[in-house]
Symmetry: C2
Subunit: 442 residues, 2 copies
């Protein structure tokens, strides 16, 4: 490695200070500033990093950015210890175990060794996984591959296409289930995308992430991964689901249907919730308990149908008081194909938006309504303004999550250019995203 | 009234059919269509109503739109019964009771007689209120006035200004508390706006609504109104709060701090929730129990400070995968002053948005970050991309709700044109919108 690579992402004053200290990525640094001492491993910065801050990973696993000033003292303490992977032979494989594929796309769950390699590239060979979470060897024979190495906020609709195709590849090779490791930020969106793109699934597809990286004592990574592999190997359903902590304890993992799940807390381990629908299943003590009777059964004989196209030029517009109605006209001027409105209450926007919406519909844009309440069901028959919006051509999306709705509209417009057909598809339940009116409504 | 007024809002085929039947607004109609019979009171339509539908209010209180076709038969059954208000003298007034003002802005809670008068104008004299909810006479002497008659999705920032001034007027007349009747759709936004606009409150300001109109058996209007008047008259705090059902039963009403409350279900009566903060208080059996020690005490000697200006040209942008970064540039081209981003997780957006955000900040726009998780706290120090966004000048808004953040930014920019001062104000807790890190975080 040359020096430039060794200080990946650093520029300006920060780079200069690090060069002076003779430090490189992965070294342990001790930094003294304002009579505080910080010690940790130097981690790389992204291309957008500023010129002043040095970022180290503290012993407790937290990263901290320290601004380099005139009175910042820095000392290189040596190389950081490399992550320890076992050199022992693999645990004895039970050949009768189910086969699970793990596809990694990046995110916290895959971030264990980032700060060592300097790249956002996880170590995710089967050997590495077994050495980090030995329990996995008792659950399934694992094929692991790295497809992407992205923070999930950088996952785009074209990545959904890539992930869907990679899953289909694995399934065509006869695995008993697929696990997708993914950052949690947009995991709900990706789970919804895969739910629409992968039809007639023969086996389960489990999307999994973690809220705390594996190098922190409170990490949820291992428990979530064990849950996800257990579900991929043995769950009785063949749908796309998200596997995450049910509570803050490691004792139980919930499996949420991919179209009904949402990240509902910035930091808690039990951040993912099923909305307007019960979770699919719970895993506790290695036992999977179904929490609903309405699911698609696992059937290895079924032939997967892959429809991985997503059209961009679709936007999610969250209404708020004082929203400029010209916002809607702008999308029209940019030749958008679809708009999901996140309205208030039962599905409303101010009447100042009616004319732009009418014009958008008249120009051929599919406009559909969800609610920023998140829970509950859009009902545009109760109030006059709701009926008026329907008369303008706005489609009420029942109990569909706004986040699922934007993904579905991208997918629908990837399947057809015909507006009427698109509207029909949008209103038709494809993957559990629209549920019948139930007791949950009240 | 002339015929035109009698059929307010109807046009085209619907108007023709109603004329033929000799019907006018408020009449009972029996409509036969596709061997179904519907009977109900003809209600007026808004200016955006279509030409085909007739809307009647059924006996169960629901409105229904019926499309007029060739085989629709309609019969006028007579005039609908007028809402019955007592002609008895007012209940005996206890002169030692506290005084509460009720200001109505419209919404379901005020919709009782709309369908009779044909206008969105509630009957809200003190006499009417006492006759509808006689219990109120035992709680407070009420001054009632109608300020606005709007569905809350049509409430705009300039209405917040009007409402704030009206409340200040009432308070200057020495009332012991003020109740604001409001539609529930944007009640959270208005409560936040009043929290910023009304400073140094001497008495409580209680915003109240209902999920079911008072003419439906399951209405929550009376219980919420009793709760709101109780709080206005007797609560120990002097803050802006929202009074709504705690559960689906009428037994307990929660009082939520105006900056921390959110409508979280489209239809349930217990739709309002305190987010990232406990509710202020509970009312059960006419007893108010505080649920936190951190509140501003009622103090009639305190002099209210009214800061009712809100600047528009501020937008809420909810990020989603595939979001067009040009969206941000559009706001810049429209000379916006502020943007609240509803990012993912701890406060992230895709790196494709970084350049437009940098340009927006450089052009003088205040850009701040909240989370679409809703619960939890933005923390832009954990990941590199968060630190990078901060380096670009994006302000992390801690545990502030996105809906409160957009209102606060409008308010902040109504107070100052100076960008630095605006950023400082935005980061400073004004009305409980920013709370310290607590156990609720994990």
């Amino acid at each position: 490695m040359n020096t430039q690579e060794d200080l990946s992402g650093y520029r300006g004053e920060a780079l200069e200070a690090l060069r002076k200290a003779g430090a490189k990525i992965g070294d342990v640094l001790r930094i003294l500033k304002n009579s505080q001492t910080y010690e940790g491993i130097l981690i790389p910065r992204s291309e957008y990093g500023d010129r002043q801050h040095i970022v180290i990973k503290l012993k407790n696993g937290y990263n901290i950015g320290i601004k380099v000033t005139q009175n910042t003292q820095m000392k290189r303490m040596g190389e950081g210890s490399k992550p320890i992977f076992t050199s022992e032979p693999l645990p004895k494989q039970n050949l009768s175990l189910p086969r699970a594929a793990i596809i990694s796309t990046g995110g916290t769950i895959a971030s264990r060794v980032d700060y060592r390699t300097g790249a956002v590239r996880p170590a995710l060979s089967a050997t590495d996984l077994y050495s980090v979470v030995p329990e996995l060897a008792e659950i399934a024979k694992i094929d692991a591959r790295i497809l992407l190495s992205l923070f999930s906020e950088n996952i785009m609709p074209n990545h959904w296409t890539q992930i869907a195709k990679a899953i289909a590849d694995c399934i065509s090779q006869g695995v008993d289930g697929v696990v997708v490791a993914h950052g949690t930020d947009t995991m709900g969106y990706t789970a919804a995308a895969l739910s629409f793109a992968l039809q007639e699934l023969p086996v389960p597809v489990i999307v999994v992430g973690s809220q705390r990286s594996a190098d922190r004592p409170s990490s949820d990574a291992a428990a979530n991964l064990v849950g996800a592999v257990t579900a991929a190997a043995r769950a009785p359903f063949a749908e796309v689901a998200v596997a995450m902590h049910e509570t803050t304890s490691d004792q139980s993992i919930l499996l949420h249907r991919g179209t009904k799940v949402r990240k509902c807390h910035t930091s808690r381990r039990d951040t993912f919730r099923s909305v307007n629908s019960p979770p699919l299943a719970r895993i506790r003590n290695h036992t999977i308990t179904m929490l609903t009777d309405e699911y698609i059964r696992r059937d290895p004989a079924r032939s997967i149908v892959v429809k991985p196209e997503f059209k961009e030029k679709v936007a999610l517009v969250k209404f708020f008081p004082g929203m400029d109605p010209e916002t809607i006209r702008w999308y029209q001027s940019r030749h958008y194909k679809g708009l999901i409105i996140e309205g208030t209450g039962l599905g409303h926007v101010s009447n100042t938006c009616f004319e732009p919406i009418q014009d958008a519909v008249d120009s051929g844009i599919v406009v559909a309504m969800t609610s920023q309440c998140i829970w509950g069901r859009v009902n545009m028959n109760v109030y006059d303004q709701g009926r008026d919006l329907q008369a303008l051509g706005v489609i009420p999306l029942e109990d569909m999550l706004p986040e699922t709705a934007i993904v579905k509209l991208m997918w629908v417009l990837g399947q057809t250019d015909d507006r009427r057909r698109a509207q029909e598809l949008l209103k038709t339940n494809i993957a559990g995203e629209l549920t019948r009116r139930t007791l949950l409504d009240e």
